[in-house]
Symmetry: C2
Subunit: 476 residues, 2 copies
């Protein structure tokens, strides 16, 4: 199978496309712009969901579910919001065999419909903070779909909170950004740069948008999630007011934050190579694949018995897959599971049974070792941990190698024509300069990092004094 | 709070409505026919989901995700299916600011869109059985919405499978029915009668529909889930063919099956009483609520320390809630948690701390007991188990008390005018008799039970020889 994959180094978008389809993560559907998430891809999403849901609950949030359909007029209550989202909406005009009096849009995000209800639920400071989250599907019309990265429908979680004070809402915004950042690092082995978006890149209706930006292996950034400080914009638009501790009627301070099935796309593009996917053990549907080897019926029987024992010993601690398909050769299976990115392959043959050992092969390095059957579980768990760490280290190194501090506009233009990456440069804060860079290079300001140098240089575009150091990149 | 609940015995629909809203399970939204599921209600749904998902996976199924939007023409490929569902559809006519060339419907169920893809995925008998499931939201236009029971949008899981032979597909249909039945009994403490639907009540497009019907406390049935044997109907409509072991090209044999957020409604109506909800421990968001009692600051401190210890001891095994809100009295809290149906209440006061004991109160019986702090965990776990069993026994008894074997049509009419329930009666199999009963009594054939008597009497409607004993009931 791997011979069918396009080489990553030669054609990155082609590689991505072929890997997603051949590893059976997802498929195009008969519906324009929409995808089918296949079992192997959905299992990755379930692993993401399970851990993210735990983190969201541990930070005090409760899950809820709000309607898919939103009356069009709700969208119009917040001026920036409607401007940002109306062009992407799918509109329901008929229901139950009749033309509707008012069109309904399919949620492109749920701030509006949630705030209509929060205005009812929130009366007093005692009802605050209100910390809710939902796992839902979202529709934003997409003309140039790409599996996991840009589809008309996608899956996500969206958190929505309301607070007594500005300070608490700002703290919440940053807390959830940190939840995302640490999830990306610990679970996805994906290092990110955190900070704030420029005015031009922020969420329609937010006061400020924070983000965590990873670098893909083709040198592009991929926006994987955002955390918004909404101020009182939506509270004022929807009348979300509460009696304060002092007895005054005040508008709530709000946040919203989300990550989506796009994370699966970022995961693929952070780690994959010419042979296919490389999945970090913590999110891999199967952490270990066992390939039994044996020619004669007697050998196969011996090996199957041994594999059964291993499954019993490891099954509770490790997500195992035994590939006992009889229509494929071991070699074919090795390639197949490499393509699917399983972190560890275990080969068990009759000689191994005899010698009380197994063969372990790491997907990330290709390293092969003989491991004694005694203490096999410990070895497997340790090796999975090694792979998880090595993937993060490798991704971090890749990012450092592909981050350039530039002061010269010509050099930046040249860079973005060749092998792109992150460019750290100074910016005067003027939207005109941001636009100029975009027009000249197709790169945008991905993030104004929290981590700023002690002294600031001059704006890379206009040479006026810089206000921030920013990260420019081409992006998905 | 409970003083505000309508009494179940006086006005069942009013009771249901008030309990769902006052226990904060769900709320109406600004969107006609759609509901908001609140944290407490969603936590019940998550508990249902978690266990059902495990059962679905243990029987070999994998989760996937198919698009929300379905081209209208797909629906038209299966004649009965479109007739059944087209009138309930929500139709998207505009997307991305433009009128669509072809309208898209929001999925009312996914047989059509899934089969378009299965036709691509399934080529050979080696690809079978194909056993997939998805958790998704569904839209079926609803003119008379009722929280959890009938809403335009609802949440569900839908399993879709394809098999080599008719026998395997039939076996799968019954296997999943049994998964549902045992879930209802073991988790929801809800006894059901299993069997097959009459032709008039089966799923649009199925060869046969199987169901498990529970009886609600007002004597009505509530269809909570179905398992369909689809034969080759959809396979033929969508061209789902495979190369058989013998080398012939054959149509796949299929099933589909689903349960929805309606289960939450059935749970409420199976166990609740005049004081509010009664939740079975296995699905309760909080299995135990601890109410600390103490007047002076010193007492409160002593009690809080003790409650902290108890939380530590029990927290890993029991879903605990400590109600330390300071604006409410213990009595108010008792009523509040009764309304919310928490299976066990634990009261801890300064005297209890002194005597090394706590007070446990069962929600189902109101029984109160002093339990020694030594072995408290064991006692709590045992008591929760007792409550779970008692709820099933009580529901079973209620059903037996409200199931009537009748042979006289006049008596049946009279019964359905007064206190309804399940009526077991014989039926000749003629749709005209089924219609007549419905017109005269509003009761329908809920299920033709698997469990049939040795000899059959005469049809209750026409007096011709009966073909089956059936279960008539009014239904949600």
């Amino acid at each position: 199978m791997p011979e069918d994959i396009i080489r990553q180094s030669e054609d990155f978008p082609g590689w991505y496309q072929s890997v997603v389809q051949k590893a059976e993560l997802a498929d195009y559907s008969g519906v324009k712009g929409c995808m089918v998430i296949r079992p192997y891809g959905y299992a990755i999403w379930e692993n993401i969901q399970r851990d993210m849901d735990r983190r969201i609950k541990e930070t005090g949030h409760e899950n809820v579910y709000f309607p898919l359909l939103i009356p069009e007029r709700y969208l119009h209550k917040e001026a920036e919001h409607v401007e940002g989202f109306a062009p992407e909406c799918a509109v329901v005009t008929h229901g139950g065999g009749q033309k509707l009096e008012e069109p309904l849009i399919i949620r492109p995000t749920s701030e509006t419909i949630i705030n209509v209800t929060l205005a009812k639920w929130i009366q007093s400071y005692r009802d605050l903070p209100m910390l809710i989250n939902q796992w839902a599907n979202i529709v934003r019309w997409e003309m140039r779909p790409r599996l996991f990265l840009r589809t008309t429908e996608f899956l996500w979680q969206e958190g929505h909170t309301a607070h007594e004070t500005k300070g608490e809402a700002e703290e919440e915004t940053l807390k959830m950004l940190e939840v995302y950042r640490s999830f990306a690092e610990e679970m996805m082995a994906m290092p990110t740069v955190t900070g704030i978006k420029s005015e031009g890149e922020k969420f329609a209706g937010a006061v400020a948008t924070y983000c965590f930006e990873p670098l893909m292996r083709d040198g592009r950034a991929c926006q994987t999630g955002t955390s918004h400080f909404l101020g009182q914009n939506f509270a004022k638009a929807f009348g979300v007011q509460f009696q304060s501790r002092e007895g005054a009627l005040e508008y709530a301070w709000q946040t919203s934050w989300g990550v989506s099935s796009r994370l699966v796309g970022a995961l693929i593009m952070t780690h994959g190579d010419d042979h296919g996917l490389i999945l970090p053990p913590k999110l891999a549907p199967f952490q270990v694949v066992i390939v039994p080897i044996g020619k004669t019926a007697a050998q196969q029987e011996t090996v199957a018995a041994e594999v059964g024992k291993i499954r019993e010993e490891l099954g509770a601690d490790v997500r195992l897959k035994v590939d006992d398909r009889d229509q494929y050769t071991p070699g074919w299976k090795f390639n197949d599971w490499e393509l699917r990115g399983v972190p560890l392959r275990m080969e068990v043959g009759p000689r191994d049974v005899e010698k009380k050992q197994v063969v372990l092969v790491r997907r990330d390095t290709g390293e092969k070792e003989f491991v004694s059957r005694d203490g096999l579980k410990r070895a497997v768990v340790d090796r999975l941990d090694d792979v998880q760490k090595a993937l993060l280290a490798r991704a971090l190194e890749f990012r450092e190698d592909n981050t350039h501090e530039l002061e010269d506009y010509g050099k930046m233009k040249q860079l973005f024509e060749q092998t792109p990456g992150f460019v750290r440069a100074f910016w005067c804060g003027d939207a005109a300069c941001e636009e100029k860079v975009k027009a000249d290079t197709k790169a945008t300001i991905r993030v104004i990092p929290f981590d700023q140098p002690a002294s600031l240089g001059r704006c890379i575009a206009c040479d006026k004094p810089g206000q921030f150091q920013v990260l420019f990149a081409k992006a998905y």
